[in-house]
Symmetry: C2
Subunit: 410 residues, 2 copies
């Protein structure tokens, strides 16, 4: 894409109340636009990154055999009352409003209850199981304090997946496969080495551990305890002598780290479906409750964590798999030479390479600064000087030195 | 996809309060799930149709040079007060709620104001123009009575596009190109022959006509007047002697038709940007207001209109370009022959054909009824009988007769 056509511009300053690096860089580079505290719109560059993350997550979920749906934002009071989660004292992040007839409606901060309710139309016999569904949905949460930029928002894109199973075995089988799929996702987006499956307490319905996926990150909101050698981690809740002994570990085996939660998985057993009355008939015609587990990844949050992990004082440094473009082609050509830069751009595009082409009539210094801020992994500079040698100058965003490469070899 | 894996099932009955054909068929076939009056979730088959419509619209908008973004659902009171459209007496479809600090927030029923506000960060000089942006966004509207199924919802997907221009010429040039692009969209989704650009009154900011795109449809909520010969139409508002005389036409030249609005375009001139204070500096450094026009297509509504137009007593009949799958492969094979059906399925998939494969262990009558209800354009039946002739039976959903085709020729 020609940068002259892009409607966003880089900005000198981020809004003063933005303290997080991710919001500062993403706003200044024109990836997101701040609507209000904790609410951001996605601009073309930001949407490209989100779509790349989505695609990776989507592919891994489909590999698991999950089907994609989209649930509604508007939610009915009656459904959430079944599990006593309509009450603002029980769930403190509801946004609520009223229909014209005075009936209350909620705005989806989660979709566990509506999805279980919906499945009553479709899951009735043991032959229907297992079934897996996922969605990329815009969640709305009335957070007291929205901080950390797009890492904790009042509005954000989440991938939530649900497994509906007839037996504990079916459920645990999918649970374990999902852990592998999640680790693949984090590896593919470039966070593999610093993302841990952490054990957390099991919650209301089960005495087993639940699991979180935590990325080590100085600006993270969580504290985790990591054993690098054994490649395991636990969260703060269960970092105590008694619990660790059950795992055959000691507190001294772990190192304290700041981390950001990028995913979580949760096994409800049959608890949630019993509350909601989602039953099926087994082989012998006996009514049994459905096993449920849920699997979340914060898609826009992941973009924020990527910025927090990969940056320097000049700007962001995107891993190739999620970069808005693969190549930032910068033309410093004047007049007649500009045509040559156009040609290089068109040839790269023809080869299927995603190129942001800085064809703007701007100073070189500004182009380089913008390029560093935007953080596309590979920068290619074409100028009258490089053209004299029939070459372009190639530099990786995360390296210092550049090299001349002949245009033909590009 | 194997139908045995699909979690949705066809249902005998739609909810009793659904009177529209589109909701009845879409719910019964498992394309959508009703959450409450006027609120539907998209199931896998429905999401596939919506994604196909989106892709067509997306391609045509990109052809126009428009960039994709996504604005937030949460909206700030201050922005809408600038045009006096926060007041419930002025705009009666707002959903509103409160942040924890007591500040009111709204939920996006339109994005005209926030997009104009946002552009203040980016459009400052005459060299920045023209710029075009669009989004596929989930609108929330507090309709008094949600009826007509997914044609008039409280929550729906809309493509809205905005043109920001420095001059009236730039603006009108894009306006006219967009009319062509919209007509291409309606042609590609299969509604070309029955969709008209209708002239409507110009509204607040301009004395020219605005334009709607209306699809002739018995269950439509609008009345339009069509002159088939000249291929033009007008809406009810301007169907009077005086206005038609200006167009050199008479009332008798038009035929009354019921129609559903599938798109609309609107020229704000400089009115909206003056209200919102979006100005730029022209060549001579003089401050001037920006020209704005907006362009909407209801994506989920379009799915509903397609069902209303293309159906028979047995179910839906999808045009190929937006069908959830291209082929419905139905196996009536038993035991050993089932393998042969699997092979045909896998070969079709390998060729890049989108196939829904009914591999379920169900009666033939049920399979045919489901297939007619779901409405995939081409049905291929493979049975022991057809296999004896090394053939399959091919039938188009909108035709009566079927023909035997040799498997090799498939």
């Amino acid at each position: 894409m020609r940068q002259s056509k892009l409607f966003t511009k880089t900005l000198k300053d981020a809004p003063k109340d933005e303290v997080s690096k991710n919001a500062q860089f993403l706003i200044r580079a024109g990836f997101i636009h701040k609507e209000m505290a904790g609410v951001y719109s996605l601009m073309p560059l930001g949407l490209r990154v989100v779509n790349k993350i989505r695609k990776i997550v989507s592919e891994e979920m489909e590999q698991l055999g999950s089907e994609e749906i989209i649930m509604s934002t508007l939610q009915s009071k009656e459904i959430w009352e079944k599990t006593d989660r309509w009450d603002d004292k029980k769930v403190d992040v509801w946004f609520k409003s009223q229909l014209k007839n005075g009936n209350e409606v909620g705005f989806g901060w989660s979709h566990e209850e509506p999805i279980v309710e919906m499945m009553k139309s479709f899951l009735t016999s043991y032959t229907n199981f297992p079934k897996f569904v996922h969605q990329f949905q815009n969640k709305l949460r009335n957070e007291v304090r929205a901080k950390s930029g797009i890492i904790r928002c009042r509005e954000f894109v989440m991938k939530d997946m649900y497994a509906f199973c007839a037996t504990d075995e079916q459920n645990m089988d999918f649970y374990n496969k999902s852990i592998d799929a999640y680790l693949k996702v984090f590896k593919r987006v470039g966070l593999g080495d610093i993302t841990y499956v952490t054990s957390a307490s099991g919650g209301f319905f089960t005495d087993k551990f639940s699991h979180e996926f935590q990325t080590i990150c100085e600006s993270g909101e969580d504290i985790i305890y990591v054993n690098k050698e054994k490649n395991i981690a636990v969260n703060k809740e269960i970092y105590n002598k008694e619990t660790l002994e059950k795992m055959d570990m000691r507190m001294e085996d772990f190192e304290e780290k700041k981390a950001a939660e990028v995913g979580n998985i949760f096994n409800f057993g049959t608890g949630k479906c019993e509350q909601m009355a989602l039953y099926f008939n087994d082989k012998d015609g006996i009514k049994k409750p459905v096993y449920l587990s849920s699997y979340g990844i914060g898609i826009t949050r992941l973009m924020g964590v990527l910025v927090e992990v990969y940056n320097d004082e000049k700007g962001m440094i995107w891993p190739e798999s999620v970069a808005p473009f693969q190549v930032h082609l910068i033309s410093l050509c004047k007049d007649g030479d500009a045509k040559k830069a156009d040609e290089i751009y068109e040839n790269l595009v023809k080869k299927g390479i995603e190129v942001l082409y800085d064809d703007r009539n701007t100073r070189a210094g500004e182009k380089f600064a913008d390029s560093d801020l935007i953080g596309i992994p590979k920068r290619i500079v074409v100028s009258t000087k490089t053209l004299e040698k029939n070459s372009v100058e190639v530099k990786m965003r995360n390296e210092e030195k550049s090299e001349l490469v002949e245009i033909e070899k590009l």
